[in-house]
Assembly symmetry: C2
Homo-oligomer: 350 residues x 2
């Protein structure tokens, strides 16, 4: 039987670990619940699994522990920051909150961040905007890492380049969280460690042959993850990926044209306030109808019911808040090692 | 040997046809070259092929011939219009030009349009922004039409929901033009008419079985076009499609929750000025490097060279401007029928 913990106990634990590792107290307090949020939603590769490597980054100085981003530009509805390699989770949450505030005045606000550290789970930030009735688009890329090749090519140029969108309805928000590649670095890394295969040929080896064994990503030269659409119509994922590169690196003015600085992110956040367009009620009247048309859609054979993006995550979150969070195998031990080093007491399971 | 025409002769012809059909002269002058632009780029389902149905829409009153959109909201960086079923091509071009002008001041400008008529070829609008050094995102949907089902479902809810992005470099712009479905209404309609098959199982029939015969879209009930990612990872295209619905209908305050008004579009245009972020040079330094990494990528077996989105269209455009435009079979005759009715003289081939 896997141990379960309350979300609050885990957040307190993670906050204490970050603070003990030297992260500013107000930053630790903002970041910790967002790490737990990912596990609540079931995004187990992007939640507490990332806390040990983040602690290591604080220890080796590759994540800055304190201070504010440098403001490169501020036009009101557009803000550009140099993140100075501060916690990407803290920078992103702070950017979302600023964009929500500014969007009330301008109708939209866009925040571009260069040189953030890794930002963890994009889906975890969306409700900060949707709970205010606003639509949010959030995307990032890591200019120091490459695992996906351009469509038709064989050498990695960019990251999976995720894109998350939060869309308010009068009930639960629609929470889109997709990447421009079929699968992710997190999942392929985990499966490779566990000696497991992907379900389909979502990769190509270094010669361009289809593959489902994540080991092809660890050869020299390495294979690559296929773009969304695969060998069949991968120009679609390629187009998405280039768009994300432009938003997160070209607008940020820092990217693959610069020397790699290590694990990190370029980030682009945009919030749109429906009241500046046609009004909040007009917005949710459309999204409610869209949600209804999807949820009541007759499913294909083998599909139980048509769901909306975010339905599963919101359901998992409710269950985890009620019954406690069961962390993915290995995470409790990895956190325990750091707790020992940093003199932090681990919480008891419920 | 197929007849070829100069781009200018075709634009003059189309302008004369639209003017003779009652479209305001300044609108005919703006729309005509944009219709030709699509054929120049090789988007032959979305160029002059659409002129006869647009002329029919002017004739039956479903496209409004004159006047301005109603301004529903104007916050400076956000503008919302009711398009009053004016030409979608004219509305979109006018919105892009306004967004470029406003983005110089605010850094970004977003224009939402409800109740436009059909907007034709998204890629044709992008250079209006990229030639000014700006990044543009343009998307639309038609709330009166549905041909794509939500992932896992069998009944059409929405349109292919295209998304086009123009990204400046120091050379040719990157011109992304993708849809959230694997293939489009235009292509499946043309193949069905010609009794041809798709290359792959990009459709499902009304029971949810994979199909490549576009005839499955014309049964009762009809089958549907699969989302990007297909049966394998179609949640990606589903997420894109819902995002486009929210941008183009929910923000516009008009969509599938309203009674259908016939062939038309909800439109969302956003322009971002790199000078408001990190500067134009910083932007193109990144996009130039990205373009170089893609174009020099060693190709997979069977692939001649890795190209960037837009490379093919820009090359076709240069050739067509130099050697003349060869229209897709049937288009010259269809235009000729209207020219006869409207008393317009068709141009001579070169």
């Amino acid at each position: 039987m896997t141990d379960r913990y309350t979300a609050d106990a885990l957040a307190g634990y993670v906050e204490a670990l970050f603070a003990a590792a030297g992260l500013e107290v107000e930053k630790a307090a903002l970041v910790a619940p967002l790490m737990v949020e990912a596990d609540l939603m079931g995004h187990t590769t992007h939640g507490l699994q990332l806390v040990p490597p983040y602690l290591a980054a604080l220890a080796d100085g590759s994540m800055a522990p304190s201070g504010q981003p440098d403001v490169l530009s501020d036009r009101g509805p557009v803000v550009a920051w140099d993140g100075r390699r501060l916690s990407g989770v803290w920078l992103t949450a702070t950017a979302v909150d600023l964009a929500v505030e500014r969007a009330r005045q301008y109708g939209t606000c866009t925040v571009s961040i260069r040189r953030a550290h890794h930002i963890a789970c994009l889906a975890a930030f969306l409700e900060r905007a949707t709970s205010n009735g606003m639509m949010i688009t959030l995307t990032c890329s890591d200019p120091s890492v490459a695992s996906v090749a351009p469509y038709g090519g064989t050498r990695a140029v960019y990251t999976p380049n995720p894109l998350a969108v939060g869309i308010p309805t009068s009930g639960d928000p629609i929470l889109v969280d997709i990447s421009a590649s079929i699968t992710t670095n997190g999942l392929t890394g985990r499966l490779h460690k566990e000696g497991r295969m992907l379900d389909h040929d979502w990769l190509i080896d270094a010669d361009g042959n289809p593959a489902r064994d994540p080991a092809v990503l660890f050869t020299d030269p390495p294979g690559t993850i296929l773009p969304v659409g695969g060998l069949d119509h991968g120009h679609k994922g390629y187009g998405m990926a280039l768009t994300v590169e432009a938003l997160t690196q070209a607008l940020a003015g820092h990217g693959r044209a610069d020397p790699p600085e290590g694990w990190g992110a370029g980030v682009w956040v945009q919030v749109q306030d429906p009241t500046a367009f046609s009004g909040s009620d007009a917005f949710t009247r459309q999204t409610d109808r869209l949600a209804e048309l999807c949820r009541t859609n007759p499913p294909r054979p083998g599909v139980g019911a048509v769901r909306l993006p975010g339905d599963g995550a919101m359901a998992r979150k409710r269950t985890a808040l009620a019954d406690g969070v069961a962390l993915y195998p290995g995470i409790v031990d990895a956190l325990g090692d750091w707790a020992g080093k940093l003199g932090v007491t681990a919480p008891d399971p419920i």
